[in-house]
Amino acid sequence: MSYSVPGFRHPNLPQNELGYTTKDYEGRVSTLCAGCGHDSISAAIIDACFEMSIPPHRVAKLSGIGCSSKTPTYFLGNSHGFNSVHGRMPAVATGANMANRNLLYIGVSGDGDTASIGMGQFVHVVRRNVNMIYICENNGVYGLTKGQDSATTDIGSVSKKGEPNALEPIDLCSVALQLGATFVANSFSGDKSQLVPIIQAAIAHKGFAFINVISPCVTFNNSPNSTKSYDYIRQHMASSNAVDFVPPEEEITTDYAPGTSEVVTMHDGSVIHLQKLDEKHDLHSRRSALTLINDYKAEGKVLTGLLFVDLDSQEIHETMNTTATPLRNLTETELCPGSEQLEKINEILR
């Protein structure tokens, strides 16, 4: 399309290949609590899209309900957004994706939105391998309804409410892996250097990309004995790898000791450069990822990084063999079989 980006550009802001500055990827001013992890994730999404020169209007943002689900208002203001109903973003995103396979779909959810009310839909959107990015902003608590434990709260973790949680937590990365997710990563809102390239890799991935981001709730779950607090995560975070995202045109310049790094060429030709921090981890093995998550958990550590990528992923439109033209662009000419055909059908029914 030939519509140009606005004329005025802040003179000091760097521009990306499309001539956009980060300003063009920002949204409205956040109304979340100061220090909320969710805001850092919004910032990481902005950086990732800016750096990759994603045309903002080619992105559709979708979410459920919760503090986390509010955030699509706070990034990519030139993208259409849809704040749907609690736990049902996957269905809306699936439908949207069916209508137009050519946009980039970013779904944002919370741990309540995903692991409780929306668990059914989460499970099925993974299975379908809908081509989208699904970010769960996981704070182990219901933020918007003021601090109830969620289904991802660890046993013994204590929120501001003061009662240790007694129930087994759901590990969303493990669930996603078991259900056949084709891209799974775990990250931390406080580690932008890890989160941004992971989001970029997810954008480059064809198929369902799940990113669980531990995202502390400063108001209800940043207490000393919470396992989702900033301090706890900083002290217990371990990484399977360090991810460096290299756009298709750029050359890889960093050097690593042989055997400790891996170059992964993504579907769109971009490359992720992994520095292996745990040499036991095989990025292309579901079993390896699952084992590693459990091993680290047993040691009281939280494993982050890019955990699994299936480079042969077939997204849902490929499986269904949908036409390359977005369905929403089809008109009467392609869709309506016409009166002559209808008369033939009538004849069969006589």
């Binding site: 209007h57 259409h80 749907s84 809306v92 209508a99 099925h124 949908t322």
Partner: protein
């Protein structure tokens, strides 16, 4: 028994066991009569079960073209010993009871006001076929052959239909024809043929077709340009999607590449099904779902979102008997109120009420137009009787000049040339309908945030009471606009001075119109009638009620739901509306309607009128 000959006017019922393959034999029977130019209306009465329970198939044959259920059975074809007792009891005096006489009938069952016609179907099949499965299957074809002899069905027509049925599997034609002939010969040998109820070729079908409402809805969605369907299986709506899929595979697949111009997603539940429809419609595709009562209950939260955020969505609700799981395989019109006001808060939805397969086809296509035009959910309220039974219908029609009404959508060019900033919920044309943009339309203009929370005209979140009210009032203006754009009611006036009217909708149409015909002919009672086709009600509905002293409202539910909806929407006194309610799960009959109206009117001629309603 001395009998009058009745040609082309009777009701025949088949008593079968489900899962025994009787359905295709029964439809062979119906189709043959239809091909002889005689109007028929078949109805399946089946259990919510896959194998082993009683199932019935009732066919009304009527050369005058009355297609509703008449009431009463003239011929019972009983192939199910389990249900024999009630099947004998159900016959009208003067009827025939046709049964498999391979086993002698229990003497207790005998009645002397009907004739018993035994044909030893199983005995002959046992001799003719070795395989148990064949015995079962060919017994079905055999009884159709016997009926051909007993009722004078043209054998050539039946043979022709068998040929069509097994096109591509020609090997199967000969054994089927053999079974047919065997049935024919046996009946001829044992009984005097034809019976007093008999058939004779007519030319009363014309170019009409025989089709079920669900097939027509699915085809309507194809013609109406639906590309995305999200759905979850539920009786009696499943075959809407089956039909959509069937016609899409036939008409919407690129013959060279195999690429599809449609996407059908079987969802994990109805919440997801309607969510997918909303997501796809938001993104500019025409999308729809089909469901029934329990599914509709699950879809409520999303329907409110679609209403408030103004997202087109089409839902075909094939009603069945509720509440809860109710009678899943029986018919009712009991989601009228729930569909109209689905979801919490002040919500209401456009509803369409088709009465025939032709209307199923048209209304589904129209629903896709209305949904995009008004940016709101549109519910097509069919029911099990209309959806799952074949009905004789006018042929389906499509005007090739017709274009899809995609509603108010700003394109990239519109946005580029616009002087004012884009406001998603601005009422630019003062008709309550705002303009929308589609994701991806323009690099810097027209993006907005869709939400179920309250918002101002620019789609910005607000809790400002005045802005909230402004928006709700605009939605109300939109509703008023819709009132003038939905399908108009069908009004039939007698031309005689008439102070009593009858209102009906959906599948009560055929029986109601027949009842009115007979009230006029038999009792000299002529009444005006109005068939409601849509909600919101257009002015004609109000005028009709105003113009009559009182009005019967014919419905297939307990609570007089349409009556309640009318009272809720208009200002007249509720006493004007007299309920006529039938809700045992079987389709309403012409007799039932006629008797109630007759009794009520004859009574009012002498005594003060009382309202006929089981509740109010």
């Amino acid at each position: 028994m001395k009998r009058d000959i009745k040609t082309n006017k009777f009701v025949i019922k088949f008593a079968n066991v489900n899962g025994t393959g009787s359905a295709s034999a029964n439809s062979l029977f119906s189709k043959a009569i239809f091909r002889m130019g005689i109007p028929i209306s078949p109805k399946n009465i089946f259990p919510s079960n896959i194998q082993g329970l009683p199932t019935w198939y009732e066919v009304r044959v009527n050369e005058n073209g009355f297609l509703g259920r008449r009431g009463g059975i003239d011929i019972m074809v009983c192939l199910n010993p389990q249900s024999m007792e009630r099947d004998v009891a159900e016959l009208q005096p003067g009827g025939y009871f046709i049964y498999d006489s391979s086993k002698p009938i229990d003497k207790i069952l005998l009645r002397n006001d009907i004739d018993f016609i035994g044909v030893p179907f199983m005995e002959h099949c046992r001799e003719a076929y070795k395989d148990a499965r064949h015995r079962q299957l060919f017994r079905n074809v055999m009884y159709v052959g016997s009926l051909a002899a007993l009722l004078d069905i043209e054998l050539d027509v039946l043979k022709g239909l068998i040929g069509e049925q097994f096109k591509g599997k020609e090997k199967l034609i000969a054994p089927n024809v053999k079974a047919l002939q065997m049935g024919y010969d046996v009946a001829k040998k044992l009984h005097e043929c034809p019976l007093a109820f008999r058939l004779s070729r007519r030319d009363k079908v014309g170019n009409r077709i025989l089709v079920d409402g669900n097939s027509a809805c699915g085809l309507g969605a194809v013609y109406g340009g639906a590309t995305v369907a999200g759905w979850y299986p539920i009786t009696p709506s499943t075959s809407v999607i089956d039909s959509f899929a069937k016609y899409c595979r036939k008409l919407r697949v690129d013959p060279e590449t195999g690429e599809k111009n449609f996407a059908i997603v079987q969802a994990e539940d109805e919440l997801a099904a309607i969510g997918m429809v909303i997501g796809a419609s938001w993104n500019g595709a025409r999308a729809f779902t089909a469901t029934s009562g329990p599914g509709l209950s699950l879809m409520n939260e999303f329907l409110g979102l679609a209403y408030f955020a103004e997202i087109p969505s089409v839902l075909v609700n094939v009603q069945r008997a509720g509440p809860s799981t109710g009678m899943p395989t029986r018919t009712q019109q009991s989601d009228v109120l729930y569909s109209a006001y689905a979801s919490h808060g002040d919500t209401k939805h456009i509803c369409l009420y088709p009465s025939t397969p032709k209307e199923c086809f048209e209304f589904t296509a129209t629903a896709l137009d209305l949904a995009e035009h008004f940016q709101t959910p549109v519910l097509v309220l069919s029911d099990l009787d209309l959806g799952m039974n074949e009905h004789m219908s006018e042929p389906l029609e499509w005007d090739d000049e017709r274009t899809y009404d995609r509603g108010k959508v700003f394109t990239a060019d519109d946005l580029e040339t616009m002087e004012e900033p884009f406001g998603r919920y601005l009422d630019i044309d003062a008709d309550g309908i705002p303009y929308r943009t589609l994701p991806g339309a323009h690099p810097t203009k027209g993006a907005y945030f869709t939400r179920g929370t309250s918002k101002d005209e620019y789609a910005t979140y607000t809790e400002d009471g005045k802005k909230y009210v402004d928006n709700m009032e605009r939605l109300q203006r939109k509703w008023e606009t819709a009132r003038h754009n939905v399908p108009k009611p069908d009004i039939r006036t007698t031309g005689k001075p008439c102070n009593v009217g009858v209102i009906y909708y959906g599948t009560s149409e055929a029986s109601t119109l027949e009842a009115l015909h007979h009230l006029d002919r038999l009792h000299g009672i002529s009444l005006d009638s109005l068939g409601i086709k849509a909600f919101p009600f257009s002015d004609e509905v109000e005028d009709f009620i105003e113009q009559h002293e009182y009005v019967f409202v014919v419905e297939q539910n307990r609570d007089a739901q349409m009556r309640t909806l009318l009272i809720n929407e208009f200002e007249f006194t509720p006493h004007k509306l007299i309920s006529l309610l039938h809700y045992d799960g079987s389709p309403i009959t012409a007799r039932f309607i006629r008797h109630i109206i007759r009794d009520n009117i004859l009574q009012t001629a002498t005594a003060p009128r009382t309202r006929r309603s089981s509740r109010k």
